[in-house]
């Protein structure tokens, strides 16, 4: 640890930030102000969380403590101090001595944050080498020690592998190991759990917790309030570069004062939000979209039914892998069937089979009481408009040359061969139903935001008046407040159009929020199936139990819910 001999430092404050402003100078000389008057202190052994949605300036704020806010960044502050030393106007070589040794930084998504061409061990040893600690041999020993410290089994093997050969959890832990190699007093973790499955997420959170207990100060950056709730002592909520609320974690989560914080807390879907609205949007009005075309109460038979479906693929190494193994389900009218599982569990393959884009190797699928995947293409096409899809990445599902109007008109005329003028009118009605307006008719999806694109995708999905919509990770790439709006919109559509959802997600909270019944998938098997509340309150299968145990919950929000009612 550095012993400071200068002026006395207040308490055990390790970082002091006062009125930090960061702006980026664009190529045309335009200045873009991304961090505005941010102030905070970080104390020894404390965990400070920066919470906000993408573009809120939380990463830039954290990086300016490392002098890495960007080449074109202009950083100004009344005070920016590390252990009482000012960080302003420092030379490059001074910064290099600080980085890694006094502040460790863990980037999000270790797959791309570790050099994919170099063995993990070399990456972990890098800070040791750069700061001239030990010899090559002692460094190798230290790497193994570090890997063990972050809970990586068989460290000798892992050190020789490259990040691409490790699973997501191991990668993230290896990245943490490289950040703490020099025992820095401060560790900044930028979205440390974002792309990880819940079980892996829990392991990574444990590693961070141990560090805190060992006296390291941690700044955690996250959009995920549940993760923050597990770690943070103090929370800063950022919006558009400003801190809108700050305080003790418990206070902020239990009694959020700023409307934005309240909105964020309310937007998190979970078991408690079922049947409630997540966003401030009022109900969408879609009832008039398809007046009297169909009597939804008419037949009560299952809409979509799968019996013992099996599907396997040959990998590039010609090895057969079973993606879906003996899965059966039925989807009824006005029902939402949630399919939850971690990556690689086969849920997306199941979605493609439900859409008859993939033919199962064995088993059968029926739609509207007739053979579906086994039907000849002509018959399939005739009913395709009654089942539609919304994908995780809507952009790739739009022809890059097409504008919104053409995307919608194309789908409208498939469902109902009306004339061009009428189709344009319908397109506008559909946009209205998903809360977009006339100004979006001529837009290219490329130039729209993620939420807007997803709305266009939903508009296209309902354009043909379907009975079933398959939603494949449809809200997973969205910020939590946008996700809330989309989930509310989907609820309204189901309510008013009587459509059924096959809702696929890795997010247990989302699944619990939307589903009537749930299928839990693991390695291609449906390990558990049943009503959502039953599965979430009384899981039978050990895998489901493990999933639910790993899930970081927003317990404070629960309390708030209880208080407000």
């Amino acid at each position: 640890m550095n012993i400071h001999l200068g002026e006395p430092v207040a308490g055990d404050r390790v970082v002091r930030v006062k009125n930090l402003n960061v702006s980026f100078v664009g190529p045309a000389g335009r200045s873009h102000h991304v961090v505005k008057n941010v102030s905070f202190d970080l104390h020894r052994g404390q965990c400070l969380a920066l919470v906000g949605e993408s573009g809120s300036g939380k990463s830039v704020t954290a990086r300016s403590i490392l002098g890495l806010s960007g080449e074109t960044a202009v950083v100004e502050a009344d005070a920016l101090e590390l252990d009482g030393e000012s960080l302003l106007g420092r030379s490059d070589s001074w910064w290099r001595r600080i980085r890694g040794s006094r502040i460790g930084y863990v980037l999000q998504d270790a797959l791309v944050s570790l050099d994919p061409l170099r063995p993990v061990g070399k990456e972990i040893a890098e800070p040791l080498r750069l700061h001239r600690r030990g010899t090559r041999a002692t460094r190798e020993a230290q790497v193994l020690e570090l890997l063990e410290r972050v809970g990586v089994p068989s460290p000798g093997l892992r050190a020789r592998q490259r990040s691409g050969e490790l699973s997501g959890g191991l990668r993230q832990r290896a990245l943490i190991a490289s950040a703490i190699a020099l025992d820095p007093g401060i560790v900044i973790a930028d979205e440390p759990t974002t792309a990880l499955d819940v079980t892996v997420q829990a392991q990574v959170l444990d590693v961070l917790k141990e560090m805190l207990e060992a006296g390291t100060s941690v700044i955690v950056i996250s959009h995920d309030l549940a993760v923050v709730a597990k770690l943070a002592d103090h929370i800063l909520v950022m919006q558009d570069g400003q801190i809108v609320e700050s305080g003790r974690a418990e206070d902020v989560l239990r009694r959020p004062r700023h409307p934005y914080t309240q909105q964020l807390v309310d937007a998190v879907p979970s078991e408690h939000t079922k049947g409630t609205r997540l966003s401030l949007d009022g109900p969408a009005r879609t009832r008039e979209l398809f007046p009297g075309t169909r009597d939804h109460t008419a037949d009560d038979g299952p809409l979509l039914e799968a019996h013992h479906v099996v599907k396997s693929f040959r990998g590039p190494d010609k090895v057969q892998r079973t993606a879906v193994d003996d899965v059966s389900f039925r989807l009824d009218r006005r029902e939402t069937l949630g399919i939850v599982g971690e990556s690689g569990s086969g849920k997306s393959t199941l979605a493609r089979i439900a859409l008859a884009l993939e033919t199962p190797d064995s088993g059968r699928v029926e739609f509207l009481g007739r053979p579906w995947t086994a039907a000849p293409p002509r018959e399939q096409r005739a009913v395709r408009r009654r089942i539609s899809v919304v994908q995780q990445d809507p952009l790739s599902s739009f022809d890059p040359r097409w504008r919104v109007s053409r995307i919608l008109v194309d789908a409208i005329r498939l469902g109902d061969p009306v004339n061009a003028h009428r189709a344009e009118e319908r397109a506008l009605e559909l946009l209205g139903a998903v809360r977009l307006g006339e100004q979006h008719l001529d837009a290219l999806p490329l130039r729209m935001s993620g939420g807007q694109r997803q709305r266009v995708a939903i508009a296209r999905a309902i354009a043909t008046d379907p009975d079933v919509i398959v939603l494949d990770e449809a809200v997973s790439a969205l910020d939590v407040s946008v996700q809330a709006q989309i989930l509310d919109l989907l609820a309204d559509l189901q309510d008013q159009l009587g459509v059924s959802y096959l809702f696929i997600s890795h997010d247990l909270g989302v699944i619990h929020h939307v589903s009537d019944r749930v299928i839990v998938m693991q390695d291609g098997h449906a390990v558990e199936q049943g009503p959502a509340d039953q599965i979430f309150s009384d899981p039978q299968h050990p895998y489901t139990q493990k999933l639910l145990e790993s899930l970081p919950r927003l317990e404070y929000a629960t309390l708030r819910e209880a208080v407000s009612r």
């Binding site: 190529p27 490392l66 890495l68 490059d92 070589s93 290099r96 001595r97 600080i98 980085r99 890694g100 040794s101 502040i103 460790g104 930084y105 980037l107 999000q108 998504d109 797959l111 791309v112 944050s113 050099d115 994919p116 061409l117 170099r118 990456e123 890098e126 800070p127 750069l130 700061h131 068989s154 093997l157 490259r162 691409g164 050969e165 490790l166 699973s167 997501g168 959890g169 191991l170 990245l175 490289s178 950040a179 979205e191 974002t194 792309a195 990880l196 499955d197 892996v200 959009h223 590039p316 190494d317 010609k318 090895v319 990556s343 995780q392 990445d393 993620g450 990770e473 997973s476 790439a477």
Partner: protein
């Protein structure tokens, strides 16, 4: 921003022994497939050459007699008959093909129409200088590319546009004209090098530069694109957060990524270098395969032309096979994902 499902590993982290064993099997199998397809391409190039010679207009016996005598006259059947018999031009297509292929397998590329000497011998005499030229040029092109990329890529906008402008211009330069420019400046005007240098070391320098400069432009474009992409990758930021300096980041992390597309291009580059050598050898009046080929084309000595084409294509296929192996060695990710 945060697209989910990136956490699935390329290779499931199974116990070590099993993974290594399976990977070795997969590698062997893929190498086998690669080898088979290369053999197929080798067969294909020889066959295409044969078919092109056999079906295109022009009686080969007439051409042969004219090449030998240096005349351009129609020939009578009496004159043609012995030639047709000797070379089998009268045989059925299939017989001719089988004979051709059988000889090819024994390394017999036929006899020159012009001199009657075996084509294989002629090529053997001339291939050395051409190879020296092509490989020296490849080496120089890589040296130029790496230096230029490290100097100009991933820096300020001004250096970057200077760098890419340099590449665009050099990549578009016709090799023959570069050679002429060098000759005019360094041989004719300054007198530093001989105008006709033969295969001497001092006579080899200008031809090598001539071939290397446009190639460096091509390689530089591919390398720069990848360099600019790689330097924005999170792992570079990661390295900086550990305290790594700018130069070391470029050298240790970014450059290796940036070289990959260039290496895959190197197989193709050998092909263009061997082609380019034809032109450059003509410019510098340098002996080699190119000189032989140009003369043969001018004289319509089809045996020599097709012999060289088949041989060079075969070399090209083999070199590409080697490049594929090098590629896997540089990019271990491929081993993982195979």
């Amino acid at each position: 921003m945060s697209v989910v499902q990136t956490s699935s590993p390329l290779v499931s982290p199974a116990p070590a022994g099993d993974t290594a064993g399976r990977r070795a099997r997969v590698l062997t199998r893929l190498a086998g497939i690669k080898l088979l397809s290369s053999l197929f391409v080798l067969w294909g190039t020889a066959t295409v050459t044969f078919v092109v010679l056999a079906i295109l207009p022009g009686d080969r016996a007439t051409i042969l007699l004219n090449v030998r005598s240096g005349l351009t006259v129609p020939r009578s059947p009496a004159e043609l008959a012995p030639v047709n018999r000797e070379f089998g031009f009268d045989d059925s297509f299939v017989t001719q093909y089988l004979t051709y292929f059988g000889r090819l397998l024994h390394g017999d590329l036929g006899q020159s129409y012009q001199s009657g000497r075996p084509v294989a011998t002629i090529i053997g005499e001339q291939i050395g200088p051409t190879f020296v030229l092509a490989f020296a040029a490849l080496l120089l092109a890589w040296v130029l590319t790496i230096a230029w990329t490290l100097l100009t890529a991933g820096r300020g906008p001004r250096l970057r546009s200077l760098g890419s402008a340099g590449e665009t211009v050099t990549a578009g330069l016709p090799q023959y004209w570069v050679g002429i420019l060098l000759l005019i400046v360094f041989a004719a005007q300054l007198g530093w090098f001989p105008v006709i240098g033969g295969t001497s070391p001092s006579g080899t320098i200008l031809p090598v530069i001539t071939l290397a400069v446009p190639l460096a432009g091509f390689l530089g474009q591919a390398t720069r694109t990848e360099f600019d992409r790689a330097i924005r990758e999170p792992f570079v930021l990661s390295a900086r957060t550990r305290g790594m300096g700018d130069l070391e980041v470029r050298w240790r992390h970014v450059l290796r990524h940036a070289l990959i597309p260039g290496i895959t291009l190197s197989g193709w580059a050998i092909g263009t270098l061997l082609s380019g050598a034809v032109l450059v050898e003509t410019v510098f009046a340098r002996p080699g395969l190119g000189a032989v080929l140009v003369t043969a084309v001018g004289q319509k000595d089809l045996a020599v032309v097709s012999g060289i084409v088949v041989l060079v294509s075969a070399l090209y296929v083999v070199i590409n096979l080697v490049v594929d192996v090098v590629y896997v060695a540089v990019d271990p990710r491929l081993r993982g994902s195979l």
